[in-house]
Amino acid sequence: MGSLFQDSSIPEIMPDPPEGVRFFPVRHHSPVCAYQLRNYVRGYQPELILIEGPENANDLIPVLTDEHTTLPAAIYYFYKDKKQYVSEEAEDYHCYYPFLYSSPEYAAMDEAKRLGIPARFIDLPYSEILIHTSESAGLRREQERHSYADDSHLVQSRFYQKICEKTGLRNFEEFWEKYFEIAGLRLTPEAFLRQMFTYCTLTRESIPPEQMEQDGTNAREQHMAYRIREAMQQYKRILVVTGGSHSGALARLVRTAVKPIRLHKFSEGQEGCYPIAYSYEAADALNGYASGMQHPGFYDKVTQALADAETSEGIYAACCLDLLTKTAKASAKKDIPVSISDITAAWSLAEGLAALRGSAEPGFAEVWDGVTGALIKGEKTVAAAVPLELLIQLGAGEGIGHIGDTKHVPPLIQDLIQTCAVLRLKADTAVPQETEISLFTGEKELAKSHFLHRMVFLGTGFCKRKKGPDLHAGKDRSRVREVWSYCRSPQVDAVLVERTTDGATIAEACRSIAAKRIRQERRCAIAAGVCVDCFLMGIALTGEDVTVMEEILAGDGDLFSLGKGLQYFDMLHELRQLYRAEDPSLLRYITQCFQALLIQLPSMAQCPAEQAQDCIRICRLLYGITGRLLTDRRAEFREALISLTERPDKEPSVFGAAMGLLYAMDAACLQQAEAAMQGYLMGSQEMRKQGALYLKGLFETARDIVLGESRFLEMTDALLSGMDHADLMEILPSMRLAFSYFTPSETQQIAEAVSALHGGKADQVLHEAALDELLCAFGAELDAEIFREMRANGGN
């Protein structure tokens, strides 16, 4: 490694910190940094360890090092910029500070615990970092927005690109693995420290000073230096563990008097932090966590193997062989033939490459090459590269951490873990799971459905319903099973942390959010939609919420919103026993909506054509309700319909539907329906076209009128026969729709009646013999030939 820097013009690489302070530069999640840091701590025996990290999470250090805590875990920071210190947009911000077993910061905290000495974070609080960062820089950059542990200075500098060119390595990860992860294990802690300082100092040199100002580095370093100087007053042996790019600068800064940065004061709830479980998948740099290492699962295994072994030699080889074997096994499970000979060839390739590249042991890069060369048969295409995909998956690792000290776990996350345990849902893996719920077989099954619906309602992204009744869209209501896919991720925990202020349990949070939404709403349809959510979540709205709901229903004058609301309430009322969700308020809501709609019903007569279908739907709904629930109000409904039919300039399909409903309630109305149809028939050409719409509405609500009374068929026949081709084409869609309301057997019946009118057979109407394709082609050719002949003979 040293030879790489031979041309460097920088004379002094190792910093010269004041007496009693040592700096240890690290790369986040780097096993070798964690390993060498532990060794260094054991030699140096510090009295205090200071760690780069927002200092408002100092109380959480014991939680992370708790013996019952399992990594990956993260500190979740949030800040609500209500006072617009960051920007005028007053946005909410949040980020994660993840810890793996391979994280040197975790090793530092763990060593401090082992030695019984304090460990502290020394960086600015999260809110202050944001305040001191320019727009689109540092933690305000889109790609780094959600991760505190930022190594971009190390991995994005021009310096490393040159070094990759010089060493012939493909990328930074390969360079880092060869020269630091593998070679670094064979160095003494002091030699490793020198190597780290050399690399980090040179990368820092290539970063423009203005960038340091913009991304908040200068402010952060000023604060960290101030905290170190504070500690120097009290402790004589201090170890400072920070990201590689800061260590050298801090060592220089602490020699001079540093002014403190003025910290803002925030009210409770405006900023905070929680420990949350994290996943390997989220910690993988390949998944967009740009600051981390790639393949964190693999490197965590290396770290754990290093902790258990007496010597670091052979650790990488053993872990790589293990990874290769697992990849081969996983490939075999996917029906990709992998023999022992293939594994041997891949391993020998990996070992040979390590030797050729001057690496003491194979690393992930060599396993990658081994799999590429020996396990992919034929051309390397997307389809053939499955073993590589599996290698990436295994390298990333799976599984999710656990916070041992439950006092610090936000209540909603505790509730999630407990509920998952009760309902036998897997909450300790980041691998997507699937569960099937038989909705009506028992309370436990329904409880599972309620829980998953609650997680959807909270917007956690925890689960997604793949199959099952969709009550919002009114689809698949007859399904008795739900199929859900679900997966716990750090984002799920983050949302639950943010929802902590809404309630102490998931159910409570859902209830309070639902109540808030209803209060914010003035439209019946949307408020009723929230009621559907509550129904699915097994949450009943009570007390003040019911009053608010009634106020909304009373205040909403929109016919269609009320119609949609009534449809929802009617559905919920119908399903209440099945879903074991009795709610006495539902009938009151239905009555209220019914009343409001009844008043407006006559005015539907003049609705625009595009809303006619909705009006017909509402009419049918009201008819259905007066038949099932509000039977005593049928007469009022009839009166309202009669009033509708008496209005001038009626929309024909709504008129037809109203006439159909009146006929359904009283067969004596048939004559009026016939008269109306006659009116359209006798009218102008335009009126005759409207007759088709009238029929559509009529058939939608009273299709038996056609089957029972031949007069209507005769009139329909007269209507169609009396039209020219262009007009017929115009009304054809409406007529098609009108006849689509009939069942196949009814269609057969109508066909028979129609054929009787014209002296034919039903089969001729319904199933006319198909035209032979060849015959048709022949006819077309014949036509063309005739035309050619005619033209040739002087015709036109």
Partner: protein, 369 residues
Amino acid sequence: MEQDLIKPPVELRYAEELSALKAADTGRRPENWKLSPKAVRTFILGGTVTLPDGQKRDISRKFYGNDALVERCIITLAGNRGLMLVGEPGTAKTMLSELLSAAICGRSTNTVQGTAGTTEDMIKYSWNYALLLSKGPCREALVPAPLLIGMEEGIFARFEEITRTPAEIQDSLISVMSDQILNIPELGDAGLVFARPGFNIIGTANTRDKGVNEMSGALKRRFNFETVSPVRDVKLEKEIILREANDLAKAGHIDCPIDRDVAELLAVTYHELREGQSAEGTKVEKPAAVMSTAEAVSVYFQTLCHAWYYGNGTMELPVLTENLLGAVCKENRDDLERLRSYFNTAVKQKSTREGGIWEAYFKTAAYLK
């Protein structure tokens, strides 16, 4: 001697570099290898070596693109599996195979050229029938083919375009690769030929021939596969065109100045037609023809020859476009329309934006007919 040959073999062309590498080589070598794997790497990917007398010697880079692929190839050849290079035509598979053979065995000419007419005796051995008739089956009457030569001498046998050979002929390699023994039954007990250390097989297969004679699973298992991709970097492609054309010009005694701008035009044209998109984001239809760097070199060299023999030594763009037309529109008539459309969209755009040579290039669109 080199200058007397149209295309001297790699070991001859780079004899000086190979001997320098050998002199400077201190690395561990697999048995019978002329150079250590590290030195082979340097020979192919370039670098600097220090000779025993302390002098530095630059080694030129001969293969561009994926360095890790070259490393994998070298290590594969040191193991007990064959190396199969697959990829689009013109991606320098053969060149890589020659370079590896020349550096490792000192000989790149022990080759079987796979065709539909390749028979087993072209791969293994045949007989001198006059001797066979007069002396009967004996070693003297045996005519060794590349596989037998490779086994006996401990060198590589190169099998070009393996998938053009019938599957049953391909499969004759299986037993040799498994057992490292070739049985010549006619010779009786003396007919067992054991492979010497250093023997291996480098095959090449063209992905455009996929499905013509698919390799059997048994044979695939005996090879490590490496997919050689076209060069994706325009700058690199330009440099390759220039370097290769320069070498060809030297070999042909053509003392014509190399035009870097023309090489760039050609590199950009080939790159964009291959990718189906111009640098400005305009979508262009990909021709059915192979748009390899080797083809681009050929077009460039033809234009250079035209300038040398018929012109005043300056490369002319109309000639370039005509040569391009000949290279692209070979099998598919629609490729002419695709090329025209490329000129009328991407080249036109560049001509308006950048002017200069692109403007002149666009004007040559009239020759596309």
